[in-house]
C-alpha cells in the first residue's frame, strides 16, 4: 500500500484531515476546486458560541497547510479520473483549470487586482459584494495567487473572438486586430500572466482517500414565496456573514444591498427550506438555530438601535454552551423570537413586508423589515453524485454520502480505503466537522501504521532468521 493519502476538498474538514495525516509524517495530496483553501469557514465572520473571529482561527491552519512539507496542494483543480489497482492503491488524475497566471513566477503582490478595470459579482461574497476579473478569494488567500475569470475577461474574450474569426482580422486602418485591455499583463512586475494556459493534468498515486467536499445552501430561487431571490434585501445566511465580516465588502458595517443604508428592522427566517418535505428538504439543517442567534447578537452589537426578529419552528440548540448562547440572544441582546413560520415576503416601497404567524400568541404578524435574512437549508453539493460514483460511494436520498454504518462507522464508506468527513455526509457545525475530519485521518493513519507495523515485524523475523 502506498503510504500517501488523497484529500478531496480543502474546507475546514479537508484541512484538518490533511494536517493530521501530514503531521504524522505521511504525505497528503490535497485537491480543492476553488482558487484557495478554507471553504465556507473563510466566509464566516464569527463562530458560535464563542464569537471567535472565524478568519483568525482558520488562517493559522490554512497557512500551515499551504507551507507544510508533507502536503502537496492542488487548488483550482478537480479530480478527473481515478483507478484502483489490484493492491487497492489509487492512481488519481487531477485536472488543474487554467488560471492564466503562472503561479511559480507570481509573487502575490496584488497589483493585477488593483489595475484590472472590470468588476463582477462575487460568488464568495454571496452577491453582496464584487470582485475584479482577476482575483483571489480573500486577502488572506492560501495560496495567495490570483486566477483570471475567463468568462468575464475582456482580453481573453476578445482574443478568442479574433482567433475564432468572430471579429474582422484587421481593423478600419488595416492593422491586425489585437485583443483589448490586458491591464494585468502590462502592470505585472514579474510577467506572470500567461494567456495561453490550458487545463493541466497531474497524476498521483495514493493508498487512501478522504472525501470532504462540503455543502451548499438551498437556492433562494426555489423559495418563490420568499421572493425567489428577486428581492435585493432578502439575503441568505452566508451573505449576512459577508456583511458582518471585517474582511467583507462593507468592512463589517451592516449595510443592506439595495441602497446601502443600515437596516433598522431585520427579520431572520429559520428553516427556510429545511424541515419542509413538501417544497424544500425534509431534514433539519442543524446549524441554522445557532448561526441565526449569533447573527442576531452580532447585529445588535453593531446596531444597538436596531431591532432583530427571529421566526423559528423550535430552537434546536444541542451542544456545549449552545442553549445558553440562544438565551443570551433573547435575554441580553433583546432579540425578539417569534415561534411560527413566515408565509410570504414581498417588496412594498423600500421595505420588505414579512407576513408570518406567532403561534404562541395565536396571531398573524406583519413586519415591515429593512432586511430579511433567510437561514436557507444546508444541501449537498450538486456534484456529490458524480464524485460519489467516481469513488464508489453511495449517496442517500438527499444526496449526502452514506457512511458504512451511520452509528458506529460514521466516517467509513463501503468502498475500501475511502473515508469521508464533514458536511458532505450531512449538516453539521464546525466542531463536529473538525472532530470527524480528525476521525477520518485517524482511520487513514491506522491503515498506514498497521502496514508499517507488519513490515517491521517481518523485518524482525527476517533478521532473526538471518542470525
Amino acid at each position: 500500500m502506498i503510504e500517501r493519502a488523497l484529500v478531496v476538498g480543502a474546507g475546514i474538514a479537508g484541512i484538518q484531515a490533511a494536517l493530521d495525516i501530514a503531521n504524522s509524517g505521511y504525505e497528503v495530496i490535497l485537491v480543492e476546486r476553488e482558487p484557495s483553501i478554507g471553504g465556507h469557514m473563510a466566509q464566516l465572520s464569527e463562530t458560535f458560541p464563542t464569537l471567535d473571529c472565524s478568519q483568525c482561527i482558520l488562517t493559522p491552519r490554512t497557512v500551515e497547510t499551504g507551507k507544510h512539507e508533507n502536503i502537496r496542494l492542488y487548488t483550482y483543480s478537480e479530480i478527473d479520473s481515478i483507478q484502483q489497482d489490484e493492491n487497492g492503491d489509487f492512481t488519481v488524475r487531477i485536472r488543474r483549470k487554467p488560471a492564466y497566471v503562472d503561479w511559480d513566477i507570481c509573487t502575490g503582490c496584488g497589483v493585477c487586482q488593483e489595475k484590472c478595470p472590470f468588476k463582477v459579482e462575487s460568488l464568495f461574497e454571496r452577491g453582496v459584494g464584487t470582485r475584479k476579473v482577476i482575483y483571489t478569494l480573500s486577502p488572506q488567500a492560501v495560496p495567495n495567487k490570483p486566477v483570471i475569470d475567463a468568462e468575464n475577461c475582456r482580453y481573453l474574450q476578445s482574443k478568442w473572438d479574433i482567433e475564432a474569426g468572430r471579429v474582422p482580422a484587421v481593423d478600419a486602418k488595416g492593422n491586425p486586430a489585437k485583443p483589448k485591455c490586458g491591464a494585468c499583463e502590462k502592470f505585472c512586475p514579474t510577467g506572470a500572466i500567461q494567456w495561453d494556459q490550458t487545463d493541466t493534468f497531474f497524476e498521483e498515486k495514493v493508498g487512501a482517500v478522504i472525501l470532504a467536499t462540503g455543502y451548499d445552501l438551498f437556492p433562494q430561487s426555489r423559495l418563490p414565496e420568499y421572493g425567489g431571490g428577486k428581492i435585493p434585501d432578502v439575503i441568505d445566511g452566508l451573505a449576512f456573514e459577508r456583511l458582518l465580516a471585517a474582511s467583507g465588502p462593507t468592512a463589517g458595517k451592516i449595510l443592506r444591498p439595495s441602497d446601502g443604508k443600515p437596516p433598522l428592522e431585520v427579520v431572520f427566517v429559520q428553516c427556510s427550506g429545511s424541515r419542509d418535505p413538501e417544497r424544500g428538504v425534509p431534514y433539519c439543517s442543524k446549524i441554522c438555530c445557532m448561526y441565526t442567534a449569533k447573527q442576531a447578537i452580532l447585529y445588535k452589537h453593531r446596531l444597538p438601535q436596531g431591532q432583530a426578529y427571529v421566526f423559528y419552528i423550535d430552537v434546536r440548540a444541542g451542544g456545549k454552551g449552545y442553549e445558553e448562547f440562544v438565551n443570551r440572544a433573547m435575554e441580553e441582546d433583546g432579540v425578539i423570537y417569534l415561534r411560527g413560520k413566515v408565509s410570504k415576503l414581498f417588496r412594498e416601497g423600500d421595505k420588505v413586508i414579512v407576513k408570518g404567524v406567532d403561534t404562541l400568541s395565536n396571531r398573524t404578524v406583519e413586519i415591515a423589515a429593512d432586511l430579511v435574512v433567510l437561514a436557507t437549508a444546508v444541501i449537498p453539493r450538486a456534484t456529490n453524485p458524480q464524485v460519489a460514483a467516481l469513488f464508489g460511494v453511495p449517496c442517500d436520498e438527499n444526496g449526502f454520502y452514506c457512511a458504512a454504518n451511520e452509528e458506529l462507522d460514521p466516517v467509513l464508506s463501503i468502498a475500501p480505503r475511502v473515508f469521508m468527513a464533514g458536511t458532505a455526509l450531512g449538516p453539521k457545525d464546525i466542531p463536529e466537522t473538525v472532530a470527524q475530519a480528525s476521525g477520518a485521518a485517524a482511520k487513514v493513519l491506522s491503515l498506514f501504521q498497521k502496514q508499517r507495523h507488519a513490515q517491521s515485524q517481518a523485518q524482525g523475523v527476517l533478521e532473526a532468521v538471518g542470525d
Partner: protein, 289 residues
Amino acid sequence: MAIPYFPGCTLSTKASGYDRSGRAVAQALGLEFQELPDWQCCGATFPLSTDNAMTLIAPTRLLRQAQEAGGQMTTLCAICFHVLRRTQNFLQEHTDVLERINWFTEEPYLGQVRVTHFLELLRDQLTWETLRANVSQPLKGLRVAPYYGCLLLRPPAEIQLDDPDDPHILHECLEALGCEVITFPYQSECCGSYLAVSKPTVPQQLAQDILASAQHHGAQALVTACPLCQYNLDYPQQSVRGWAIKPLPVLYFTQLMAVALGLPEQVWGMEGHSVDPRPLFEPYRATVA
C-alpha cells in the same frame, strides 16, 4: 364549437353578471356554452375528509351529467372549477370510492370527464392570439390588477392551471384585451372566503389590505375569476361603515372581455356591483354604427 357549461349556484344569483358576460363572450368567440341539464350545487368545498364518499356525491353527479353531454365541461366560477377538478382527480385515483358512489346514485360515472376553467379554454384551445384578433375596442391605458385568489391556483399539483407564486393566466388574458396589467403582491392572497358569513370582519380586513395594495400600485380596477372573491372585495366597499379605502371596482375578466369585444352594454352585467365600474369604460364604449 359547443361546450358543456356548468354555471353553478352563485352565477345564477349574485354573480349573474359573470354568467351573462361569460356566455356572451363565449358566443362572440365561436364557443357555444351548452348548459348542463338538471344541474345542482357542486358541493361548494372540496371535502378534506377522505373516508366519506357522501360529500363527493354532488360533484360526481355533475361529472356524470358532463359525461352524458360529451365528456368535458367548463366553468366560470373558480370554486366550482376547484371542486370539480379535484373530485375528478380524486375519483381517478380512488376507483373504490367511485364504485361506492355509483352504487348509490345508480347513474354510473366512468371517471373520464375533463374539467376546464374558461380561462384555460381560452389559453389552450382558443389561444390568446385569436382573442387579441377579436378585440375591437382595445382597453388601452386601462390599468387593471389581476387578482387570482386561492382556489383557482391551489393546490398547484392538483389544479395544474398556473404557478401560484407567479401566475400569468389572467395577466395574459388582460394583455390580449389591450389593458395595462399591474402585478401587485396580494394577487394570490386569500380574500377570506366563507368567513364572510361567520366572521365578516376577517375578510373585511383582508379586502382592505388587498385593495389598498392594488391602489398603491396604480390599479384602476381589480379583475378576478371568482364570485366569492368579487363579493368579498366589492360588497364591503359600500356596506361597511368606517371603510378607509377609496372605491375600487372589482370586475370579472369576462366583463372586460365583453367591453373589448365590442359587445352591447346589456351583456356586460355590471349593474349589480357595489362600486359601479361602468364609468371606467366610457372611453371604450363601442360606437353604434
